[in-house]
Symmetry: C2
Subunit: 491 residues, 2 copies
């Protein structure tokens, strides 16, 4: 199975595409640019959803559901947002099919069933949601309004890649309304923190928190807070964004509230989202030439147990022992699978779980039964150890934590090694060519950013929240700059 | 708030529409026929999802996700299924908008961005899924394939009603593949049982299990297993269906497997689904002229506590006591809300929670603090009781169970009283006019079914699984019949 996986050094992009399919995460569908998320991939998404949803609720948000379609007249109301998405909108124009008179057994669009107004399949839901909020918000008592939605959205991308960029993807989008500017900014920043904590603690994927430059900002936002991760091939991945939308949508949809003082004021807004793209980030942070590597906190199967046996008698004896261990582990909320299929040999099973990134593999044979031992192998380091059965439970619990930490630390080190401070444009070009984050001074203009992109394909990933105030000069123009920003080529 | 709810006897349909909006469950959106599910309504759906998802996984199913769009050529492959849904399909024909040259600031569909092949927004996913399964199934080892998807679907209905019939709705759709006919039928029946158990144990909504007649069967199915509930206005609601699809989709998409004996065989299929329509059924099973009534197992808030106080000092003393109770209840997994808003008076709060169907309301005032008591009111019977604080925990736990049971029993009794056995057509018409289920003999022909529908608007809801074999004659034609079927007017 995993044997024929392309090596990362040979062709990273090919390695990624093969891995996604071979590890049973997702595949391309019959619909251009749309993917099928297979059960194993979807189980990872469910784990992500559960944890994010918990965090959203903990911070006071409620879930709701808004329509898939946005009437064109609403879609275009906030002009910048509409302009940003217009070129990638799937549009519903008809509501009926009919038998094709020229083609027996085939259907065609019924020309009589043309919609009076076209419907855009949501690429994001600000428009339909703010049109709804108009009816929900009258007074300061109705604020803040803290709502999240789990949904599918469609953006007609020309070049697509499984998880990273697909025409349809799954995501969550938070849409909040506030009485004051400050409160909205605080909310947007809070959600950036929630995302960063999730990325680091659950995905074991270190991220840089920062704000986007003008040209990389969300269409319709005043400020975009982002978390940026560094992939193994030296390219950056925007992993989640949280937008302070100012009063743009409130003005476009005329959403005002009566303040405590009895004045009519426009409402302040945020929106924030992460998507199935995170699974792409997860893969490209940890996986290796043998396949997927999953952090225990997001692994659908944390421990797999493979019996090594010559006959049914041995299998029965092993199974008896294994069933005890399985019960104990489940009681500790460890998700464990006992793979007793007799249609595959142990070697094939080992390869399969390696490919699928199961963090811990236990092998147990007749000899182990005699000795009261187990062989425990970690997916992250391939280290194997023989352990007393009586110690297994605490050993496994510790090991899961250790693997989670090790993956995070490895990724932090990788990022450290691949972040370069540069002070002139020659160095800059060299560093970008090598890959990784490049920390450099920039004069703050869109023009310079554009020219740098043109010369090097690198963009400003963010102006880090923790950037130090220092005197410097722009790597390209030599104009004065007060802080370094982070450049990289990006997904 | 609840004061102005129309009475059920005056106009049931108006009562329903008002209730859905006033209890904050859902509302109509700017998109024809599409609803916004508000946080309180969505919280009920989340509780339904959690329990159903648990049951699906318990019975061996995994979740996955398939594309929103179905290319027309795939959609039309299974002809009966396509024919059944063609008239209500939203169709995507273009993938880009552009600035409208004749209308500054407006957008129009870019005529250059016409799709070569139109995409149908899924009304159901058999076609796209079976086209995918073709790649997943080669041998008997790949079977059974037991997959479920939580998704939105679109059916362009002309007359829509919140939850009951909307152009877009949320649902789950299971799609399974099996090696043998028997196994597929067993699966379809199992899921009917899963749905029935959920309806009765969680929704407290009794259902009749049965099979559909030819004319009411799912387009493309060989057999449709259904659960049918009776609403308070005497109309039936189809609450969930499970279909045995034979080899129809396997043939349409050429999905074959190699059997143990090395032969190529078409795969057998089932599909099954329940949707946000269940929330409509929940409302029309239990609610009353004061508003929503929720069974405790699906209530987002099971217990609400309202403080009765004259000044801050009293509120503080009450809050201290309440916080203890809240902690105790949460430890027992009871979801409880302490409503200490000072912007509303107790009377307004009482009305609000009555309208929203919170099963148990606790009021606590200064006098209660002195006496060590609480006033506990049940939503289902409006009964109030003063309880010692020390007994509160076990009293509430019991009461939640009692309310759950009481609601179920009431609904069973209502159905019993509104199910009529009739043996001639005059009685039949009278019984249908009165409302409820009518149990009658039928000659088994579609023609008779059509004529009965024409005369009375009643349809065959199902041929009950537990129908007794008995000699009888069809109420309309007098032709021989071997079992009674269930007629009703239906949603």
């Amino acid at each position: 199975m995993g044997k024929h996986l392309t090596k990362r050094d040979d062709d990273y992009s090919k390695w990624y595409n093969e891995l996604v399919v071979k590890a049973d995460l997702a595949e391309n569908s019959a619909v251009r640019g749309c993917m099928v998320i297979k059960p194993y991939g979807f189980a990872i998404w469910e784990k992500m959803q559960a944890e994010l949803d918990r965090k959203f609720k903990e911070t006071g948000h409620e879930n709701a559901y808004f329509p898939l379609f946005v009437p064109k007249s609403l879609f275009e109301a906030e002009e910048k947002n509409a302009e940003g998405f217009a070129k990638e909108c799937a549009v519903v124009t008809h509501y009926r099919l009919q038998n094709d008179p020229e083609n027996q057994g085939k259907l065609r669009v019924d020309p009589e069933a043309k919609l009076e107004e076209e419907l855009v399949v949501r690429p994001t839901s600000e428009a339909i949601i703010w049109n709804t909020y108009k009816g929900w918000i009258q007074s300061y008592r109705d604020l803040p309004l803290l709502i999240n939605q789990w949904a599918n959205v469609v953006r007609w991308e020309m070049r697509t890649r499984l998880f990273l960029r697909t025409a349809e993807f799954l995501w969550q989008e938070g849409h909040t309304a506030h009485a004051t500017k400050n409160e909205a900014i605080t909310e947007a920043k809070q959600m950036q923190d929630v995302y960063a904590e999730f990325a680091e603690k659950f995905m074991a994927m270190p991220v840089i928190k920062g704000v986007k430059s003008d040209s990389e900002r969300f269409a319709g936002a005043e400020e975009t807070y982002t978390i940026e991760a560094l992939m193994q091939d030296g390219k950056a991945l925007q992993a989640g964004t949280s937008h302070f939308l100012g009063q743009n949508f409130a003005e476009a949809f005329d959403v005002k509230y009566t303040s405590k003082e009895g004045k009519q004021e426009y409402v302040w807004a945020t929106s924030w989202g992460v998507s199935t793209r995170l699974i792409g980030g997860l893969i490209m942070t940890h996986s290796d030439d043998s396949g997927l590597v999953l952090p225990p906190k997001l692994a659908p199967i944390q421990v797999v147990i493979v019996p090594i046996y010559k006959n049914d008698e041995q299998l029965n004896a092993i199974s008896e022992k294994v069933n005890e261990i399985v019960k104990d582990l489940r009681r500790k909320d460890v998700s464990v699978k006992f793979d007793n299929r007799d249609t595959f040999r142990p070697g094939a099973k080992f390869a399969e779980y390696e490919l699928k990134g199961v963090p811990i593999r236990i092998a147990i044979g007749a000899r182990d039964l005699e000795n009261g031992t187990l062989e425990i192998a970690r997916r992250d380091t391939f280290e194997k150890k023989s352990i007393n059965q009586s110690d297994a439970l605490s050993y496994i619990e510790n090991l899961l934590n250790e693997i989670q930490e090790n993956l995070y630390n490895k990724a932090v080190n990788y990022r450290k090694e691949n972040t370069t401070k540069v002070d002139d444009f020659k160095e800059f070009k060299k560093a970008i060519k090598k890959g990784g984050f490049v920390s450099a001074h920039w004069d703050g203009t869109e023009e310079t950013e554009d020219r740098i992109k043109e010369y090097t394909k690198a963009t400003i990933r963010c102006i880090p929240n923790d950037a130090i105030e220092e005197e410097g000069i722009c790597v390209l123009t030599g104009k004065p700059s007060s802080k370094r920003v982070l450049f990289a080529k990006a997904y």
